[in-house]
């Protein structure tokens, strides 16, 4: 799993590629949480995330809580059908703003 972070104006864009499981989750948490601290608006581009287990859900939960606590906003971009399914079944999806493309994600935060 790899994460790259770049600012776009006042928005922090985190692009995640690969698999988020119990092995990679601590690294994902370590790299994503500072983005939440630094930016109020965040896009997580997950177009290239091929696997997300409950360890990944836990990170989404932490990010959501952190963002909510500081009146921030998080948009998830490019979720696969499988990941959407996991998030729907666990009641996670409805709490996130979801966009199909990075362009639409940026619009959602404009």
């Amino acid at each position: 799993m790899q994460i790259t972070i770049k600012p776009e104006g006042d928005i922090g864009i985190a692009t995640i590629t690969g698999e988020i499981d119990s092995r990679t989750a601590p690294q994902a948490q370590g790299e994503l949480m500072p983005v939440i601290e630094k930016f109020n608006k965040i896009i997580m581009d997950m177009t290239e995330v091929t696997f997300l287990s409950s360890a990944g859900l836990r990170i989404l939960l932490l990010i959501y809580r952190q963002a909510t606590a500081k009146d921030g906003r998080v948009v998830l971009v490019g979720l696969s059908e499988e990941i959407k399914d996991t998030m729907t079944m666990t009641g996670f999806l409805k709490f996130f703003v979801v966009a199909e493309s990075l362009e639409n994600g940026l619009k959602a935060l404009a």
Partner: protein, 147 residues
């Protein structure tokens, strides 16, 4: 498929998922069902590694086997960790899953996803060994109507 043995370490999760993908290949199991089976094996293997072995101070292996039986793919995980029947674990309720994320407890979601997605689950303890057996039906119309 020939069974494979992996050390009970989180580094084994990705190879375990790959084994499931390889076992599903050519069987006709749908892409969605294959992903679900990979998620199930990941969640339960994580449980075995973290609690069955880790918390108990034990170390050991996980043996994975895949076999096609009539209209289903069966994956068996075998380990020598602490006895743990996940079908007896209390799962989050519908109400829990409706709660705002601020009030959520995160535990149990992996097992919840497993129990929701698997077509058949069976657990056996024989001697010092745990057997977690998961089956997915290969054709949609073969799934029993109560699923």
């Amino acid at each position: 498929m020939e069974p494979m043995t992996f050390p009970a370490s989180l580094d084994s999760l990705s190879p375990l998922r790959k084994y499931v993908g390889d076992a599903a290949e050519g069987t006709g199991l749908s892409k969605e069902a294959t992903y679900k089976l990979q998620l199930i094996v990941d969640e339960i293997a994580t449980n075995i590694i973290s609690y069955g072995y880790g918390d108990s101070g034990l170390s050991g292996d996980i043996i994975i086997a895949g076999e096609v039986l009539d209209n289903k793919l069966r994956i068996t995980l075998e380990d020598t960790g602490r006895e743990f029947d996940l079908s007896k674990k209390e799962l989050p309720s519908e109400d829990d899953l409706e709660k705002p994320l601020e009030e959520r407890e995160i535990g149990g979601l992996g097992i919840f996803l497993t129990m929701r997605d698997v077509d058949n689950f069976n657990y056996k303890r024989i001697g010092d060994r745990n057997y977690n057996i998961f089956e997915m039906y290969i054709k949609e119309h073969d799934v029993p109507s109560n699923k």
